[in-house]
Amino acid sequence: MSKKMHIKLKVNGKDEEFLAEPRELLIYTLRERLNITGPHIGCDTSHCGACTVTINGKSVKSCTMFVAQADGGDITTIEGIGGPDDLHPLQEAFKEHHGLQCGFCTPGMITRAAKLLEENPNPTEEEIRFGMAGNICRCTGYQNIVKSIQAAAAEMNAAKEAAE
């Protein structure tokens, strides 16, 4: 076992500080150390995206990053995207358009989709399909996921317009 490192993170707006082995993967830090179990584990090879979080403004597969690499980072997980009192339009849209079944991929999907819509508020279907290709869903066949993201985009754009 190697020497532990001193790690500082901001997770969903909360400061966290602890000692961790350098080999500890970020997904385990979140799930086991910090009890943030929204991000899931679906593979060992960075393919499925169930573990997707946002770090310093970028979508990241947290199973493929050591916590040491994330040191000092600002992390958002599904728990930070919206809760019972402040649902994100994507969370509403996924329910409205049946964008999930078993729900295992959903936290990663929504976290990734939120980032996608930030980067591109008006994506075409093709851009959505391409932009979401790092996230695998075994249940839905994606059709309703695409629909959910389109609906959330429309909703968010309408809200923005109304605010302006």
């Binding site: 584990i41 679906g42 295992f104």
Partner: protein, 808 residues
């Protein structure tokens, strides 16, 4: 009492059957608050993981765990020697065979469990695994079932008597040490005669490759033995929690009332989570040994190489017909590769599942099926991957045979199907291989499908494309894939369906609360199908309380009534029926209470949406809500207080959903890349409970079908190494590869099901695989192709084009 709301509004308010009610499950999942097994955290919980063999066939000479026990954080290392005194080094399989829990003297497939390391966390367990030293002596490896049946290499010495003779297996006589069973259905002699005298006979051999259900969440469990109370709690990814409880009790000797099995949220199953795996047994033992809760979670590679493969059927068919295309006979032989142990998840009397549905949707007077099960050095499993037992194999077989026959007859494949469909008036239809189809209207569905896609127009376009291709104007061919499937789901009638002796009924228990809300518990367990939403809809329509006021609970054996779980599309046909029947019991009692309150005779009131009304006087009524309250607050002569019911439903027959699918694809002959231009899916699942959920199931099933047909496989090399053990090589389509699907339906209710529903979750997979495959094969039909094996990945499609001389 005056009624302000219209009947229409009262109906809407119920959100009962037929409406696209939004799912009640979604709030927690979209907010990251699901509770999957790996989310469970208990005080002092340990983590267990396996040492797995890299060899596919080897003797184990020695296992040295001493170094591993020195690794910081490692508490125990279990081997077969530790389990043997408890009689747990082997366990029974669902197929009447037995399977090693931990390698007992030898290993039979790559990835087999050799030792179980228990440590404080997963990192320490991984370190411990590295430090276990196993001394293997490798043995000849057999990955081909045909070779296996000829080989002198005996894979299972435990199944050969000391004098070298071969004792019978669970399914009768065995012909070779590596042979598991021969299973047959139909009339062999007549079928041979029909084939021998037929005007036309088409023959084909096809391999339905090995693949894997690969749900996004792998298998896992947490075992917690409370030594003070003598109670074992087992959380896990179980598609059949009650059956798991019974199995754990039978093999551990712990009395069943002292075992509580809980299936929390499950991240997809598709058949992967039906069986009992060594991880469950080892976690239980480790918890007993250490006195602490023990968690075991597969990683993706563990999942793909060791638990629950699907398919792996070598099928040989002969089909006969008149010159006009009327089918007269069908013969099918299957060599089934079951791997190192026979752990197939099928009802006991059906070692090849319902493969004998392989006459499909056609009126075939004479047929014969024979299946030989064989041991090889591959992983055990043989689950029904998003289908009822072996139905995907059966439907693929017949839908390919139809295409091959169409080629032989030089006939249009859509027309060939039409002239052979079982006609509407023939239902209930007794098929040549034994099943009695409950209902169907195939011609209507087929005509609707062909008309919607403009089938004739597509064929004309295809003919033009072939001209253009030959003239050098395009390098893309066009394939039109057809399939018409009949599923057989809802296992099943207790008289012929059981698993480990447990009849395959299912159950529902309902309690109505005084204020007019309710809880219903079932013996099934959702893995994404949305039971909490749809079962409440069934009940809402049956008992007249809003679905939003009904909680559905599943998956806890301490509270739910006994049931056989969720797989093979059995939840709606069996548990859905139990739900309706329990609801009707509630209604019957409620009717008596209402009559009492209205001061009329029981027979003078009738149920209407959400209330009981006095016949002929609709202004006099009692709502179900009022009745519920009365059941708890009034002493009613001759009626017990309370409003509860339970129903155990033993289905009188299976249900037979069907559908008509059409796929149109363009194939680039130079790259082998198929582009799916259109996919039309018409499903008839009888009464539709929630159209939104049905559509979602169809999208998902089709996508899994696309994967299997176009690339997904568990492939082995000659040494028994799994070549597709990660998502790098094992194809799971992303949003980028998947088309939009057009869904459609007809409704032919099941005549014997209380609400006429048939089950739908698996139909799209069953019908989708042959449809995608037929599209690929159809593209090359004009150039001499009759059949190529799946999966049709880019390389194999390119190869087909190349072999047909299309690359100049």
């Amino acid at each position: 009492m005056k009624d302000e709301v219209t009947r229409e509004e009262r109906l809407d308010n119920l959100k009962g059957m037929g409406c696209s009610r939004k799912r009640v499950e979604d709030a927690r999942f979209t907010q990251g608050k699901g509770n999957y097994v790996d989310d469970i955290k208990l005080d002092g919980m340990l983590f267990g993981d396996f040492v797995r063999t890299p060899y596919a066939h080897a003797r184990i000479k020695n296992i040295d765990t001493s170094a591993a026990m020195q690794v910081p954080g490692v508490l125990a290392v279990l081997t077969a020697a530790d389990l043997e005194p408890l009689g747990l080094h082997w366990m029974p399989t669902l197929a009447g065979d037995k399977q090693m829990v931990l390698a007992d003297g030898k290993v039979l497939f790559q990835g087999q469990e050799v030792a179980f390391v228990v440590a404080e966390d997963r990192y320490a367990a991984a370190d411990g695994i590295e430090a276990v030293e196993v001394d293997y002596e490798d043995l000849p490896v057999i990955v081909d079932p045909f070779e296996s049946l000829q080989s002198d290499v005996v894979l299972r010495e435990d199944l050969v008597a000391e004098d070298g003779s071969i004792p019978d297996g669970a399914h009768g006589p065995r012909t070779h040490p590596n042979h598991i069973f021969t299973w047959e259905a139909g009339d062999k002699q007549t079928t041979e005669e029909v084939l021998a005298n037929a005007e036309i006979v088409a023959e084909e051999s096809m391999y339905y490759h090995r693949t894997h259900p690969c749900p996004l969440e792998t298998c896992g469990c947490v075992a917690s033995m409370d030594k003070v109370n003598g109670k074992l709690t087992l959380w896990g990814t179980f598609q059949a929690p009650h059956a798991i409880r019974t199995v754990v009790s039978l093999i551990s000797g712990i009395e069943e009332h002292n075992i509580r099995v809980i299936s929390p949220d499950i991240g997809g199953g598709f058949g992967n989570k039906v069986g009992a795996y060594p991880g469950y047994v080892c976690s239980v033992v480790a918890s007993i040994v250490t006195g602490k809760p023990v968690k075991w979670i597969e990683d993706r590679m563990d999942n793909l190489i060791s638990t629950a493969f699907a398919r792996d059927y070598w099928m040989k068919g002969r089909i006969s017909a008149t010159k006009e295309g009327k089918i007269t006979g069908l013969h099918c032989h299957v060599t089934a590769d079951h791997g190192g142990f026979d752990a197939c998840a099928d009802p006991t009397k059906f070692p090849a599942g319902f493969m004998n549905i392989c006459t499909g949707s056609y009126d075939i007077p004479t047929a014969y099926l024979e299946v030989d099960g064989v041991y090889t050095n591959k992983a055990p499993g043989g689950v029904s991957y998003r289908c009822s037992f072996r139905v995907t194999e059966a439907v693929y077989f017949i839908e390919r045979m139809i295409e091959v026959l169409a080629i032989k007859l030089n006939m249009d494949a859509a027309e060939l199907r039409r002239v052979n469909f079982i006609r509407k008036e023939q239902f209930p239809y007794k098929a040549a291989l034994g099943w009695e189809y409950d209902s169907g209207d195939y011609h209507t569905a087929w005509d609707k499908a062909l008309k919607t896609v403009d089938y004739d127009g597509l064929r004309a376009e295809q003919a033009q494309r072939i001209e253009d291709f030959k003239a050098g104007k395009t390098r893309k061919l066009m394939g039109i894939g057809l399939s018409f499937f009949t599923e057989i789901v809802g296992a099943g009638p207790v008289k012929n369906c059981d698993i480990l002796g447990l009849g395959m009924f299912d159950s529902c228990e309902i309690r109505i609360h005084p204020t007019g809300s309710a809880i219903a518990r079932l013996g099934t367990i959702s893995q994404g199908q949305g039971h909490a939403t749809t079962f409440a809809q069934i009940l809402a329509s049956e008992i007249g309380l809003p679905a939003d006021s009904i909680t559905i609970e599943e998956g806890d054996t301490d509270t739910a009534p006994y049931g056989l779980g969720t797989y093979g599309s059995r939840s709606t046909p069996v548990a859905g029926a139990a739900t309706a029947m329990a609801g009707r019991k509630i209604r019957a009692k409620a009717q008596m209470i209402a009559a009492y309150l209205l001061e009329v005779h029981d027979n003078d009131v009738e149920f209407d949406v959400d209330r009981f009304v006095v016949k002929g006087a609709p202004e006099r009524f009692k709502t179900m809500k009022e009745v519920a309250f009365a059941a708890y607050n009034q002493a009613i002569p001759g009626i017990e207080p309370g409003l509860e019911a339970v129903s155990y439903y033993d289905p009188p027959n299976m249900t037979y959903p069907f559908g008509a699918y059409v796929c149109v694809m363009d194939i680039d002959v130079d790259t082998g890349v198929p582009d799916i231009r259109r996919f039309y899916a018409l499903d008839d699942c009888g009464t539709r409970i929630n159209p939104m959920i049905i559509e979602g199931q169809v999208h998902g099933g089709l996508t899994e079908a696309l994967a299997v047909a176009l690339g997904q496989e568990i492939a082995y090399d000659d040494m028994g190494n799994v070549k597709t053990g990660t998502l790098m090589d094992f194809f799971l389509p992303t949003a980028w590869e998947v088309p939009n699907y057009e869904t459609d339906y007809t409704v032919t209710p099941s005549p014997h099901h209380p609400i006429g529903a048939k089950g739908v979750g698996e139909s799209p997979h069953v019908g989708g695989v042959p449809c995608f495959s037929n599209a690929v094969q159809d593209a090359f039909r004009a150039f001499g192709n009759t059949h190529t094996n799946m999966p049709h990945d880019h390389w194999r499609i390119w190869k087909t084009a190349n072999e047909l001389g299309l690359h100049g």
